[in-house]
Amino acid sequence: MKKIVFSIIFVYFIVVFMVHFIPAFGTAVTDNNVHLIWERTNLPNTVTAVYLLIRVYDTVFEVLLFSLIVVSVGFLLKYEPKSEISEQTVFLTARVFSGVIMAISIVIFLNVVLRGHITPGGGFAGGVILASGVVLYGICSNFIKALAHYDVYKIKFFETISFVAVISVMTMVSVFPDVVLVFTSPPEAYSVLSGGIIPLINLLIGFKVYAGSWKLASEFVVRRGTL
């Protein structure tokens, strides 16, 4: 009975939405502001221009929220019992190819992050790519080794440094609108350096997102229960 009532409400909403809100097929409704953003910021990828220059105050709180969630998940799971982690027995093929995919994901991370202002990409996408590569390596090859790299390479230290740097630069951009992060006369159009400081911010955000995502994923895998 409940499901029937729910289905009727669903169909009602769909019909109302179709009649009133969806624009007619094939009509251009609004002006996209691509040329305005292009004139104002001079960055080819206008999505990056919006979320790193024009609406940077959104991104500040986004990075802040992400860091807060990583800290709170670590705090809440601190006293939960851990599962026993032992060496996995996996096929040699999976072991070799997970390392190869890990290397490929590092290369894609650098490409996506450093060229995020010219081509599709950016800090958040790059960080998630790198973290999924590391998680894949941990699941398919050796989870103990993947857990150890967080301490061996001092990821937490660099994560803190990149967090402070990102927050301070973004706060500067949003409080003082006269600060110019893009070179007024770029060295060469559509090169990496033409973005000014944007590739550096993308790199720091990418590293931050990678460290946080890996921390979250490893916390859950360590406490996976009877799996």
């Binding site: 251009a28 691509v34 999505v47 709180f61 992400f66 998940v73």
Partner: protein
């Protein structure tokens, strides 16, 4: 055309997720249904941004602006939504892990019954 199809698909998957939230008794399935709702919201914004056209809003040459480019502002705004959805999912999964460690079940009715018996 494509925009309308995307928006309708997003609406349908949104209601599928809401139905999963209502009718599932397993907490993990409820969390996954919430994930479906969040992803369909992202899809909805993508559909709204592609009303004018589906060309990526990346200017490849100095005079490369075309009118059929997708609107970049909803795409940039929804990045915040994606991160918040990720955060909410992580916190919910943490609470699921804590509940399972305490009650050794994920069934909502069983947890409520045990909780009532404990509080009486």
């Amino acid at each position: 055309m494509i925009s309308s199809i995307i928006i309708l698909t997003a609406m349908v998957s949104f209601f599928i997720g809401i139905a999963g939230l209502f009718f599932n008794r397993n907490i993990l399935k409820k969390v996954l249904s919430l994930a479906v709702v969040e992803i369909s919201t992202v899809l909805f914004y993508t559909g709204i941004s592609s009303v004018n056209g589906i060309t990526a809003p990346i200017i490849t040459s100095v005079d490369g602006y075309v009118i059929t480019m997708a609107n970049p502002i909803p795409q940039a705004v929804i990045i915040t939504g994606i991160v918040i959805g990720f955060a909410v999912l992580s916190l919910l999964l943490v609470f699921t892990v804590m509940l399972h460690n305490r009650y050794h079940t994920l069934d909502v009715h069983t947890i409520e019954r045990i909780f009532e018996r404990e509080t009486q």
